[in-house]
């Protein structure tokens, strides 16, 4: 049954899980526990949370290099995520992937990716499967503003539109492709308006407002399941940490700009709204925060104590047989 009112506390909890796990990962990166890249999702939590709140395990998500939030919101545990970044056998990809290859098909997490663009095509392909199989599942692609100038965006959205596929295209416009400003890289700097080019709705929402994302995704999923085709949703947001942990951050943007966006923190904003509108109490939110904190501490310990993968398995699963 579709929920008539948003699950406020569940949304708040998911955003807390993402934020606290990311902050833990940032600390772990400084300690040298993460061996490769670590692209955090801090500042963008409302988007994965608002979209994935509608998804069942059979609905599938295809993600980007900045995908920890998508994995967590889709149901990967902080323990499995942290262990993966630590390269441990207990990680969600058994230590084969790290930050950019998080897989958990059991919960519909079909992978983060080191390549910008393919997730759009894969979400369209999943939509094609679901249409052929006559299931009511949806395929969701999350991607950044950097992906919308890539050919995959054009080809994927066009095909999803002509076949009316049950796919959602969620653009997280955090305004920089690594360090290149979107306003420099795009002849048409409004992503949502590009929906018209493919004959699909293009919706612009405040990506730091979890309820706005939640409502937009709800409408898009209803449309997809009704056989009316895909929707493009542009979520305007900002990452408040560097592109990747350990990188400098002020060669291309100012401290003032980052501070201004930190003040628009999606979690704090949501908490204030919940309390102001008596949808939750300060104590309820504090309790959630504390529970999540305990879970992340436990996840960190689990990951640190997990075994390394067996080197003799380095070339298993190359083929099915």
């Amino acid at each position: 049954m579709p929920e008539t009112t948003p699950p406020y506390l569940r949304l708040y909890r998911t955003m807390q899980v993402i934020r606290q796990t990311e902050e833990q990962l940032a600390k772990s990166h400084q300690r040298g526990l993460i061996h490769g890249a670590c692209h955090t999702y801090v500042g963008q939590e409302a988007i994965a949370t608002g979209v994935c709140a509608h998804l069942r395990p059979s609905d599938v998500v295809f993600s980007t290099h900045r995908g920890h939030g998508h994995a967590l919101a889709k149901g990967v545990t902080p323990a499995a995520l942290i262990a993966e970044l630590f390269g441990r056998a207990t990680g969600c990809s058994s230590g084969r992937g790290g930050s950019m290859h998080l897989f958990s098909p059991e919960v519909g997490m079909m992978g983060t990716s080191g390549i910008v663009g393919p997730c759009i095509l894969q979400a369209a392909g999943a939509g094609y499967s679901f249409k052929l199989l006559k299931s009511d599942n949806v395929g969701v692609a999350f991607f950044g503003d950097g992906a919308v100038n890539n050919g995959a965006f054009h080809e994927g959205l066009n095909m999803a539109s002509i076949w009316k596929l049950p796919s959602l295209f969620i653009c997280e416009n955090n305004q920089f492709a690594t360090e290149v400003p979107f306003k420099y890289a795009a002849g048409n700097p409004t992503v949502a308006s590009r929906g018209a080019a493919y004959g699909m709705p293009g919706i612009e929402v405040d990506g730091n407002d979890v309820l706005a994302v939640y409502e937009a995704a709800k409408t898009a999923i209803q449309r997809a399941k009704a056989g009316e085709g895909p929707t493009l949703i542009e979520c305007l947001t900002y990452r408040t940490r560097p592109h990747s942990e350990g990188m400098g951050d002020f060669g291309y943007r100012s401290r003032e700009e980052v501070e201004a966006w930190k003040a628009r923190c999606p979690i704090r904003r949501f908490a204030e709204k919940l309390v102001a509108e008596s949808l939750a109490t300060v104590d309820e939110l504090a309790k959630i925060e504390a529970e999540v904190q305990a879970m992340v501490v436990e996840a960190q310990a689990f990951a640190e104590n997990s075994p390394w993968p067996d080197p003799s398995t380095a070339a298993t699963h190359v083929y099915a047989q």
């Binding site: 599938v60 098909p105 393919p118 094609y128």
Partner: protein
């Protein structure tokens, strides 16, 4: 056993598998009502409908990328790309996504994608419709690469591919599409990684690929009249490669030449040579030779085009030279 053309044999295999498995669908340009540029899907649109015979816009990267997502979610896409040259636009989707997905997901995702289309030089097709790409694809772990030369093998390998959970490149030399052969009716599966001895002989082992199998057979007939006995091995799949059958043949003949229309550098012949030197050095009575297509983009004009492909005469001479070593 009925005699069918290579192309009709694949159509028979495809039709049988689509009847058996409703999760199979085909995507490509003109593969719907048109039935495919090479009639690879002739009649299937009326039988299976538009969703399973899906005509695409001209966006190879897009629909190959979609095939990855479809395969990850329970269906079995066939990408019919007409000419293998066309999917170079989608090479990232093949190499970075399709080939790596099973591994990166620790085997939890399967990748049953069949990528089929024509390769090879001929018919003045010129350089954007003439490439042989199997050495490239054979380089990457995660892909299977089929290069049938006979009608029966084409059907049997296609059916095996459509029951495999691995991604398969199924590459059909366009000069083979109308050759005929005896093709078993119904269930006929040819395993991957199993070469065929297409002619038995004593004096020399010829490993030939796709169209070169037929040219080598013609050369062997000429040489037989000269008293030379040529054994011809058709690997049928180059990934996996059945090196054991090649080694057994070389053990018998003591001589090896690889005849391949594809370019020599970093090619299948070089790899076979290295493997035979490594594992069969003591069996060799002469250096290993290769005869390849000329290392150049493919020209259009018939005399230029003919000059870049190993001919029956050149193959026969190369074999004579090797036996004389």
């Amino acid at each position: 056993m009925p005699e069918l053309t290579f192309m009709k044999a694949t159509l028979e295999g495809l039709t049988e598998e689509m009847e058996l498995n409703p999760r199979i669908f085909v995507m490509g340009e003109g593969i719907g009502k048109r039935g495919g540029n090479f009639k690879t899907t002739e009649g299937l649109f009326d039988r299976f409908g538009a969703e399973r015979l899906c005509d695409t816009p001209i966006c190879e990267r897009g629909f190959v990328g979609m095939a990855a997502g479809a395969a990850m979610t329970g269906t079995r896409p066939i990408i019919d790309f007409m000419f293998a040259d066309f999917i170079m636009d989608s090479i990232g989707e093949i190499v970075n996504q399709i080939a790596k997905m099973q591994y990166m997901s620790s085997g939890r995702l399967k990748m049953p994608v069949l990528l089929r289309g024509c390769i090879g030089i001929g018919h003045s097709a010129a350089t954007h419709h003439s490439g042989n790409y199997y050495p490239l694809y054979s380089h990457f772990p995660g892909l299977r690469v089929c290069v049938p030369s006979m009608a029966a093998d084409a059907k049997g390998l296609l059916k095996t591919a459509l029951r495999s959970d691995d991604p398969v490149l199924f590459l059909e030399h366009k000069s083979l599409l109308n050759i005929k052969g005896q093709v078993p009716t119904g269930e006929h599966l040819v395993p991957f990684g199993k070469a065929a001895i297409v002619r038995e002989g004593r004096d020399v082992t010829v490993v030939a690929l796709t169209i070169m199998v037929h040219k080598s057979l013609q050369a062997a007939e000429i040489l037989a009249k000269e008293g030379l006995s040529v054994e011809i091995v058709d690997p049928r799949t180059v990934s996996p490669l059945d090196i054991d059958t090649i080694l057994e043949s070389v053990h018998k003949t003591g001589r090896l030449i690889i005849i391949d229309e594809a370019f020599a550098p970093c090619g299948v012949g070089g790899d076979i040579a290295a493997l035979v030197i490594d594992r069969g050095f003591d069996d060799l009575d002469a250096p290993i030779r290769r005869l390849n297509g000329t290392f150049t983009p493919t020209p259009y004009s018939p005399p230029l085009e003919a000059a870049v492909v190993p001919s029956v005469e050149r193959i026969a001479q190369a074999i004579r030279d090797l036996i004389a070593e």
